[in-house]
Assembly symmetry: C2
Homo-oligomer: 276 residues x 2
């Protein structure tokens, strides 16, 4: 039975939002709603316009017989900036200060609405890159990797510091922790990453960059390719940072343990050229 | 400027899908689209009908001045069953078999489309419960907790087996691992769970039930309340399982290490009364 335009628009929107970056043919929608391709095409141009106006993202049209549409989630620069500023405020709350100058983040990284925004912001940075997998290190990076992976619609892989029997054979590397200068070990299940994969590294927090550097070595070990590195927060680091090319959403500038103050500003995300 | 119905429907759908379980007032939509409440009300009844017909979930209407609408994600029984049967097949792949009779799951639990379905299925089970937080144990349970948390729109908390400086003060308990009968320790950041919270436990895999039992003790320690336990997969366990009241989506019945076969069937999810 032919489905009305209003119902098509609702279901189409839902369908596209749940399958970002996936090419959907007009024929698929025409069959799904028992409607003419010309009507579907009109529907899609309304969806496209609305998505654009409301900052939901881009609906790309791929012409030709093998063509269709593809929804690319993209956050507006204004919305991203508002979110990051809001996060600066929340991270600056004095009661987040932990012994050793660490900042408590776990509550924020367990909030679905916050994770959605982080995922969308990081995914927006890599819109035009082809990415096969998002990589992070357990445990705190996982929610961020999952959020980004959901918007890029590619799998994520978890590097671990401890070996688990449930991972099967693993490849392990040693790395130097940037802040403590200790030698540590990290490993990744052998079957979790194909040779030649294009990998995006994400993490919750970067100090010396040692952990990210370890993941870079792992990527080499797997003969895969690094696409980029984005962290939720970086802290100013007195010393040689092991990583130069990275993006941060937030920067913890100053932690004063005596006065119990934390000073947080937007990271270098907004300075990156691609985002303009 | 007044927004057309077609555009309203698209943006409304997106808005509601991104904020499950949240009450949105008609006034909010009326302002957002500069439209009369009566038009918004008509829009919402079209959305409601389409969501229902397409198995997207329920749009609940709350009458009165403080009322509005609330989107409750809910998977259709048929779709849930199809997904679970598909997972049974994938889990039965011989190359998933690991030494010790373990089953490799990490690839599946890193796939955004699979996690979305798992999240929706588990959230559907607890539609009518009031839940304040989803709890899991690091590392492999995290993606499941995050997926469920996103559909229930409540935070998730991660219990850890190792203490990390970035968690602040923690509450720790000892528990007996069900399968190995060793005494282990797990802990949770003190500030991550409020007293009296209603908690849903989820995990990727349950054998003897020791880990889940540990989380139950932690919930008591926090003077919180257990709402339910749902795991992605359980394995048949020769011994006294420490947990009786739980739900599983899948059941690994039989692992034959010599023949390299795994036999997986749907778990007890579909036997639960609430789901009919």
């Amino acid at each position: 039975m032919k489905v009305k335009r209003s119902e098509r628009l609702i279901d189409m929107t839902r369908y596209l939002l749940e399958k970002p970056h996936k090419l959907v043919s007009l024929t698929y929608f025409a069959k799904r709603y028992d409607s003419a391709k010309s009507s579907i095409s009109e529907d899609l141009s309304i969806v496209k316009k609305t998505f654009k106006e409301r900052g939901t993202g881009t609906l790309e049209t791929v012409p030709g017989a093998a063509g269709g549409v593809r929804y690319i989630p993209e956050i507006g620069k204004e919305e991203a900036r508002e979110f990051v500023e809001d996060m600066c405020e929340r991270l600056s709350e004095a009661n987040r200060l932990l012994p050793g100058g660490y900042v408590y983040l776990s509550d924020l990284l367990g909030e679905p609405q916050i994770l959605r925004q982080i995922g969308k912001i990081i995914a927006s940075q890599y819109l035009h890159n082809s990415i096969d997998a998002v990589m992070t290190v357990a445990t705190k990076g996982v929610p961020i990797a999952q959020a980004v992976s959901s918007y890029l619609n590619v799998p994520f892989v978890m590097v671990r510091r401890d070996s688990k029997i449930t991972e099967g054979s693993t490849v392990s590397i040693n790395y130097v922790s940037g802040s403590s200068e200790r030698i540590e070990k990290m490993e990744l299940s052998k079957r979790s990453l194909k040779r030649g994969s294009r990998v995006l590294i994400v993490d919750d927090f970067m100090k010396g960059g040692g952990t990210v550097n370890g993941m870079k070595s792992l990527i080499e070990e797997f003969e895969a390719q690094l696409v980029g590195v984005t962290v939720f927060a970086e802290s100013t680091f007195n010393g040689d940072r092991m990583i130069e090319d990275y993006t941060s959403l937030l920067c913890v500038d100053e932690v004063d343990i005596r006065d119990k103050t934390i000073h947080v500003t937007p990271g270098n995300y907004f300075n990156k050229k691609e985002i303009d």
